[in-house]
Amino acid sequence: MNTQYGPGPHEGSNDESETEYVQILDADGNVRPGAEVPELDDEELLAMYEAIVLARRFDQRAISLQRQGRIATYAPMTGQEGAQVATSFALSGEDWLFPTYREHAAKYVHGVSLSSLLQPLYGHRDGYAIPDGVNVMPEYIPIATQVPQAMGKAWGDLLTGRTDRAVLCHLGDGATSEGDFHEGLNFAGVFDVPAVFVCNNNQYAISTPSDRQTASETIAVKATAYGVEGVRVDGLDPLAVYEVTRRALTRAKNPIDDERRPTLIEAVQYRYGAHTTSDDPSVYRDEEEAELWRERDPVDRMATFLESRGILTEERAAAIEDRVEAQIQEAIDSAEADETEPDAIFEHVYEEPSERLDQQRAELDRLREKYGDDPFSEVLQ
């Protein structure tokens, strides 16, 4: 393990904990002295970069779709794409992903199509449908509820002997305050399950800064309370995040000796923009603070790193931009073409609908037949 551990805290944060802090790229995208770059070939590094660029463009388009009133409230990820893409890059196809409402890029890299990402924003009933063979859960909106579930999924895989796989569970810094975070992590420690919990500490839970969220010195240190591994990583350094996640996944699947399987990763990062498109961050934080973080931007750092190695050329960069734009446009077109039948309301409540539900479905059918669909599109208010 020759990866260089950052000698001290991230310049943008201010803690005094003893937890290790992992960085591979410096703020400008140069490999830190003594740090070892993960074993990824040029193709892979380029693919990671492309996904990060795609994530950023997707975010911009989604925000603008929302402003145009075409989609509902959207939770942006700009500033956090590096960590999202890198964590998913560390996964194998067999691994499972438990995302929140913000991990669009993490889902995409693990197999969810871009148009699928947009579906719920258009409100289509199939919005959360997950295709066969894609090991991703529908986004978790109630904060931290995914933590015990991810633990249970990992436990079940262990019990059924599927030792080739692990579960990766995302959560925010705010999520660490919920009881479910505690219960899930504690279960993970006790049952020693193959799960990796990635806390995307983007410094805020909506308007509440991390230091009002908890008095603990770091989030990673909370791992001690559960007897699991804790590690902090520069969340704007995709290579460091990749490496830390890869190691945690390896340990989850093949613990050495008395090592414990589960890990809590604190990926220190920043939400550049608003919590969601309904949020106005200027009410509760300074633009100057954001600027400090933007100087360590994951897109820029990866670009510098790849350029310095001759992997990213101007030509390739242009091709990436083109591909990405086309992909996003296609996804939007496809999502906008979708339609939802009101009948969908009654589907999949149970495997077999109850009699009552069938009656209710008939009730709605009768009303639509009698009055048509227009009266149902009246804006309620």
């Binding site: 409100g123 289509h124 909106i141 919920e178 009881g179 509440t208 949020d279 939802t340 409540v349 209710q360």
Partner: protein, 352 residues
């Protein structure tokens, strides 16, 4: 308890209103429902030092719906507190604050996020008075925006008022007008027992009405007759009041005279007003957003047949959300009772 027809004829139908408060000739400001909630909190905090507000993003940010706007600036960080993200912690801490003599007003950001606090609410807030034989009490308020129609995913659109109404020791209220919002907030804050205030976020900004500047209470436990009628009674609350009134007007044209009762208080229920209205009309519908089965519509139907079976000329019609989770927003208007469904249901009742 008896009905108060307070003259508020319910919300007008123009959906979009300006974001600026208007002061009318009498000095009463024209406020939206959410502004009236906020105004109620301001008034109560000014009146009583022990009133405090706590929750997620209620401080500097003024609440994700702006329901606590400017409270932080006015009353400071001790009385308007951003808490960690933990609903059970918020309600549990509020119980403790109550025991220390404070009057906490806790916000759950959405009703769908109140369930982690369910245990603290039903096992403790509701029962500490009874358990201690009156020695301790929990005069707290839990505010939560509820209901659908805002184009948000399922958890943001919950309407499970029956969960709270089934627990003895809790009170549950929901306003349908700005004026009631302020008055119910005031009454809830002053009430010696825990009150869950359900705020219909769909109509947070739907319309304005004059709201008195001074403080006043809408007594808990009292329904409001929003429209008098002779033929059939509609019992409803919150955001369903308006489509019910629209349906009533449309039916008036057909010669069906509908009485619309806005219950306002879901626990305790204003049984007297319900029974009186029903005895007059002999027919009724209940309109709510919650799933039908074991919703409050059942309680109202059961109450009616207990109190007034001999007057009953038709089954109490339940016009409600379906027994399914709230769908994504493309079809949520099919899930929620719309005027068209209400109209049809009332006609069915009348034609029975």
């Amino acid at each position: 308890m008896s009905a108060t027809d307070d003259g508020t004829r319910g919300p007008p139908t123009d959906a979009a209103v300006s974001d600026e408060a208007v002061t009318d000739s009498d000095g009463a400001e024209e406020l939206t429902l959410v502004e009236a909630v906020c105004d109620g909190l301001h008034t109560e905090m000014a009146r009583d030092d022990s009133v405090m507000v706590l929750g997620e993003d209620v401080g500097k940010n003024g609440g994700v719906f702006r329901a606590t706007e400017a409270l932080y600036e006015e009353y400071g960080a001790d009385r308007v507190v951003d808490t960690p993200l933990a609903e059970s912690g918020i309600v549990g801490a509020s119980i403790g604050l109550s025991l220390a003599g404070m009057r906490p007003v806790a916000e759950m950001q959405f009703m769908g996020f109140s369930y982690p606090a369910f245990d603290q609410l039903v096992s403790h807030a509701a029962r500490l008075r009874a358990r201690s034989r009156g020695q301790y009490s929990v005069p707290m308020v839990v505010r939560m925006p509820y209901g659908g129609g805002i184009k948000a995913p399922e958890h943001h659109s919950e309407s499970k008022e029956a969960f709270f109404a089934h627990e003895p020791g809790l009170k549950v209220v929901t306003p349908s007008t700005p004026r009631d919002a302020k008055g119910l907030i005031a009454a809830s804050v002053r009430d010696p027992d825990p009150v869950v205030v359900l705020e219909p976020k769909l109509i947070y900004r739907a319309f304005r009405e004059p709201v008195p500047e001074e403080s006043y209470e809408i007594p808990l436990g009292t329904a409001a007759v929003r429209r008098e009628g002779e033929d059939v009674s509609v019992f409803t609350w919150g955001a369903m009041t308006q489509p019910s009134l629209i349906a009533a007007e449309e039916l008036a044209a057909e010669g069906i005279d509908v009485e619309v009762v806005d219950l306002r208080s879901l626990s305790p229920l204003d049984t007297e007003t319900i029974a009186d209205s029903f005895k007059k009309t002999g027919r009724a519908a209940v309109v709510h957003e919650a799933p039908r089965t074991a919703g409050l519509g059942a309680e109202i139907a059961a109450t009616i047949q207990e109190e007034a079976l001999v007057y009953q000329e038709a089954p109490v019609k339940r016009i409600t959300g379906y027994d399914a989770p709230m769908p994504l927003h493309a079809v949520e208007n099919y899930y929620l009772p719309q005027a068209v469904r209400i109209r049809d249901g009332i006609r069915e009742t009348v034609e029975f």
